[in-house]
């Protein structure tokens, strides 16, 4: 059904496949509204969640998606693992695959790690975030949420706000949205916007008010407070003053702009609590759409196969 065996990233991903995933995800969204939220489609399929980097939300989202599809899930987190005993990445993954699994969902701090993994194992690989590179499932749930809200992606004007330099959410969104025909403007402190990002066909701006005026929707990225100590963002109040999605700013613009955020939110830093809680924000929808999107991805990549050993 989908052209690529794995989901490593959205760079160069076929537009029709993104649409297929979104359409399927909309169906799974309905499943999540039923009293009994379960379908048997991935019965007998075994999926390992290989998380070398901490995550609560993405991991829970994937686990729920897997369980709702009746798949068997196994969790592996780096801290408690044999990696501590000195086992290599290659051995770890091959050992796990030797136990006859069908798919690996991996989050790793190094860009390119999922690509690297394809050299050692045969299973389907889904990238749950590789360092500062891509986070394709996040971008897909973001696009699904926009599609659900606007009925289309082509021609939509999307502003991505914040620390673009360190954001895998931003990069995957840029790839995905461009493929689907949307227009993108990035906005953030100039030292946090990668120098050569224009090559990807995006516009950059330092003026948040201009971007709010222009956009149909904003994807507001979290400002990592750890970065403030390192001198990249001088202070919370400076960031908020120039880039914060504050209730005053939104009020001044009098338009129904849709507000998105990948979470977790820093209330009062990149976004005011009242804006996050407002009707314009679809942040909680994104969370539920995350489970639906991941169900769609797992279904389309792992469906139609019996357990290995055939």
């Amino acid at each position: 059904m989908l052209e690529q065996k794995h989901l490593l990233g959205l760079e160069g991903y076929p537009a029709k496949d993104i649409q297929t995933i979104i359409d399927t995800a909309l169906n799974f969204r309905e499943v999540l509204d039923r009293p009994i939220k379960k379908v048997p489609s991935l019965q007998g399929v075994t999926i390992v969640n290989l998380f070398f980097e901490n995550s609560t939300r993405t991991k829970i989202s994937f686990e729920l998606a897997q369980k709702r599809l009746s798949a068997d899930t196994v969790n592996f987190s780096a801290s408690s693992s044999s990696l501590k005993k000195g086992e290599s990445f290659k051995d770890t993954s091959q050992n796990i695959e030797a136990m006859k699994i069908d798919a690996v969902v991996m989050r790793h701090p190094t860009p390119g790690a999922p690509q690297h993994l394809t050299n050692f194992i045969d299973s389907v690989i889904i990238n749950a975030g590789d360092g500062t590179h891509e986070h394709p499932t996040q971008a897909i749930l973001d696009m699904m949420s926009l599609y659900e809200k606007f009925g289309k992606l082509k021609g939509l004007k999307i502003g991505i706000i914040g620390d673009i330099l360190h954001s895998r959410v931003a990069l995957s969104n840029i790839y995905g949205l461009k493929i689907m025909g949307a227009e993108i403007t990035l906005c953030g402190p100039p030292n946090l916007i990668p120098k050569y990002i224009n090559n990807l066909g995006v516009v950059c701006s330092n003026n948040i008010d201009d971007v709010i005026e222009w956009a149909d929707a904003l994807n507001v990225l979290r400002i990592q407070k750890e970065r403030m100590g390192r001198g990249l963002v001088p202070s919370v109040r400076e960031y908020r003053s120039f880039f914060g999605i504050t209730s005053d700013r939104i009020k001044n613009h009098k338009k129904e702009i849709v507000i998105m955020h990948p979470g977790p939110i820093n209330r009062g830093v990149e976004i005011d609590g009242s804006v996050a809680d407002s009707d314009q924000a679809i942040i909680l929808d994104q969370v539920l759409n995350g489970v639906a999107s991941r169900m769609a991805i797992l279904y389309l990549l792992c469906g139609g196969k019996s357990t290995k050993g055939e």
């Binding site: 399927t24 909309l26 309905e30 009994i36 048997p40 489609s41």
Partner: protein, 179 residues
Amino acid sequence: MKKTIIMDRQAIARSIARICHEILEKNDNHKDIVLVGIHNRGVPLSERFQNKINKLIGLKLERGSLDITFHRDDFRERLVVPEVKGTNITFTLNDKVVILVDDVLYSGRTIRAALDELNSFGRASKVQLAVLVDRGHRELPIKADYIGKSIPTHEGEHVNVTLSETDDEDSVLLVRHKE
């Protein structure tokens, strides 16, 4: 390929009318009846039942639709991508009499999947099946409660249903493939 018209528009309309009477006759508490159409053509069919019953007794029954893609039993061999938002049941099925509606009953696997999926929406007090055509060749122990027409088919034959909502016109055709 040879096509034979088994039912035309009027024949279909008469069958629908008869089935509606039968449904009302067989079930005492009309208010507890809900209609669930199975994608694709079961959906417009169920709407016709709803309208007809409304004309007959002035009661508009609740109606939903079911896309059984995720509950198919051949999920180990085939990957099927569903229509968008095929399943739409916005009410509970608890204590309801569910009339499943489909155009053709054949192996029974679609109905088995539909029964499986209905479970996710509550525990119905009864589930009954209404089909426009029963062409035989069951692979599972499934039977219809209301049948428009029984059309036994042989190898190399199959039944084609068209409805004005989804195709050009109403018809039931028997199609025979040349050897």
